[in-house]
Amino acid sequence: MIEAGALGLDAGSTTVKLVAVDEAGTMVWHRVEETEPDLTSQVEELLESTRKLLHRVDELPLIATGYGRGLVKQAGRKVTEITCHARGAYQWSGGGGTLIDIGGQDTKAMIMDRSGAVTNFVMNDKCAAGTGRFLEVCARRLRLSLDELSSTALSTETEVSISSTCTVFAESEIISLIAGGHPVPEIVRGLHRALLGRVGSLARGAGLRPPVMLSGGVAQSRAVRMLLAEELQCEVKSFSEPQLTGAYGAALLGLA
């Protein structure tokens, strides 16, 4: 049985993440699942399954974050992703800078001071342009996994210019580009460029401050990291488990 000090649950629009930290703030256990339509039961089952693994689960402080945080009735506190991502990233990086989280429904750029406090943040506007959903939809249309999407983008140096960052229009643009005989890698690289151009202007709008850190599942993509570094003309760092940043930060808030 694992000894934990607090739990953090990130109920995102694509995945649900549960993280346990010990009293020293080290991640001691985690689990990631795809978000199910019935989030309330999913969370119940998820917590139930931890009973066999973690000591005194019911006594541990639980902090919920993410879109579905309002549905996590077991949580002692509900905190937005902005605060949680920043807290997690600060613990891992040990300093301030710009944290970019490309999520399933939202992309956020947060400016953190040296003590890790968020001084400013910007989120994408209402639609899914510039979010992780954009890459997901494109990957599905091209019948590629997200990993393959990254390696495909990096397999070429040339790219097609994609005019739309609208998730819906991009899909039809892909179809017509393929029909026009453009090679898939060039299209994929162009799609990354379009997405990251938008993410870049979001970060600049928040008042970009190096170093740049990337959190969220999309940060696992090497193509995203490399092309974002090109876009922002500075190094882009990530963490070993970027998709857990929010849940990890939530758990850390539970320790305080």
Binding site: Y67, E81, I82, T119, N120, M123, G205
Partner: protein, 441 residues
């Protein structure tokens, strides 16, 4: 004007209507007084003058209901020079204010859809769609709107009104008076003031013909004085937001704004605001805020989200956040000292050239920075209003300047003042929650 119409008006408005509204007000006042304890957890009790506000607004629409056949009616834009109209006893209807009532009463969406079905684009301002839809469907939450005898459209708020009022002129087959106000990038050049003044002067014979009487300059002076007095009082009311805690929130101001827009130039409006100011001063004297526990203070930019005023007010109050000022309600206050009753037409031309929407985005940024200092706010909420392009343009760079130059965080909220279909509760709540966490509440 028919004798029957006048009789109906006299009875409906002055006898039965007034008595009923007065009775209603006395009942509400009694209820407010006798209520042992106000139960809201975060908000202090509403102002004692509130029932009078309700009475004023109801009387305004009641007058409108019986106006046709008894009084001449003008439909006017919110920034139209109405002192001449009032002096000629022409009754004004403000489609924008009526639109706001429809927004608050949640009927605007239905009217917007009606207008869209008739071919009006969803990109058109939702006030215009609410108004056109209300006319086409014949529906309104205020009973009945009178037909206009004349339309007055002043372009000092946007260009949308120009086309919207042309639609109205075509629909009702009545004259349309356009007052064109050149856009101001800096101070108004004297030729711009003269240009506007000429247009107002040119409109006088048209309006005199419609009113069936000639303009009395003494009366115009009195009306202008009353306009100025009301605007000065309104200025002091909004400025009371400077106190800590603030005795009034911008949400209260949104509601109490109606008389300064629709009923300027009347003694009862001046009296109303004088009572309101007295009450606010008493609250200030007692250290009583609009919120029971004011922890942070914010500034609001743009029109309210009419269909969510209450929701947003509660959400902020719960966290001890008071919206102490807004550029929107300030717009009817900041020009008070420009109004000169001794030079009614000249000062009118100047005043109606200077609304915030008729000036550059740089001016708005400066206004916000000034307000941030004056009201000592901790942050700014910028409502990016899908409908109102002139108010929303420039907010992105303004947001950046506010944080980098004025040193306060600002949040952009995407919504619409009247169309709930352009509003996503979850998204707005999520952003607000994050913003409030950044502010430390």
């Amino acid at each position: 004007m028919s004798a029957a119409g006048r009789l109906r008006y006299l009875f409906g408005v002055h006898i039965a209507g007034r008595a009923a509204l007065r009775f209603e007000r006395l009942r509400s006042e009694h209820k407010m007084r006798s209520r042992e304890s106000w139960r809201h957890r975060h908000l202090e009790r509403p102002l004692d003058v509130s029932p009078r506000l309700k009475e004023l607004i109801s009387r305004h629409y009641l007058t409108g209901r019986y106006a046709n056949g008894a009084r001449k009616v003008a439909w006017v834009t919110s920034g139209a020079p109405i002192e001449v109209l009032t002096a000629l006893n022409i009754f004004p209807i403000y489609p924008e204010n009526h639109g706001a009532v429809c927004g608050i009463r949640r009927t605007a969406e239905e009217y917007c859809k009606h207008a869209e079905a008739a071919g009006y684009s969803r990109d058109l301002c939702s006030y215009a769609r609410t108004d056109i839809g209300s006319i086409l469907s014949g529906k309104t939450p205020v009973g009945r709107l009178p037909r206009p005898d004349v339309l007055i459209c002043c372009t000092n708020i946007c260009q949308t009104v120009l086309y919207w009022y042309q639609v109205l002129a075509h629909h009702f087959g009545v004259p349309l008076v356009i007052i064109d106000t050149p856009f101001l990038y800096r101070e108004a050049p004297s030729h711009a003031v003269a240009f506007v003044k000429n247009q107002i002067e040119d409109s006088i014979p048209v309006l005199e013909r419609i009113a069936g009487r000639s303009l009395s300059h003494g009366r115009l002076r009195d009306v202008t004085r009353m306009s100025r007095d009301a605007c000065e009082l309104w200025l002091r009311i909004v400025e009371s937001g400077r106190m800590k805690p603030s005795p009034i929130t911008a949400f209260d101001q949104f509601i109490h704004l109606a008389p300064i827009v629709e009923m300027r130039g009347h003694r009862y409006t001046v009296d109303y605001y004088a009572s309101m100011l007295r009450e606010l001063n008493t609250r200030v004297g007692r250290g009583m805020g609009a919120l029971k526990d004011e922890r942070k203070r914010l500034l609001w930019d743009n029109l309210p989200i009419w269909f969510r005023v209450r929701w947003l007010g509660d959400l902020l109050a719960e966290r001890g956040v008071s919206l102490v000022a807004s550029t929107y309600t300030n717009a009817w206050a900041e020009l008070a000292d420009m109004i000169d009753p001794e030079r009614p037409l000249d000062s009118c031309a100047s005043v109606y050239l200077h609304p915030i929407l008729n000036r550059g985005t740089g001016h708005k940024l400066e206004t916000m920075k000034r307000m941030i200092d004056y009201y000592e706010v901790d942050g700014v909420l910028l409502h990016s209003d899908r409908s109102c392009k002139p108010y929303s343009i420039g907010q992105l760079p303004q947001r950046e300047s506010l944080s980098s130059e004025a040193g306060v965080p600002a949040l952009l909220i995407e919504a619409d003042h009247n169309d709930p279909r352009s509003f996503s509760e979850e998204q707005v709540r999520n952003r607000l929650d994050a913003f409030l966490e950044v502010l430390g509440v």
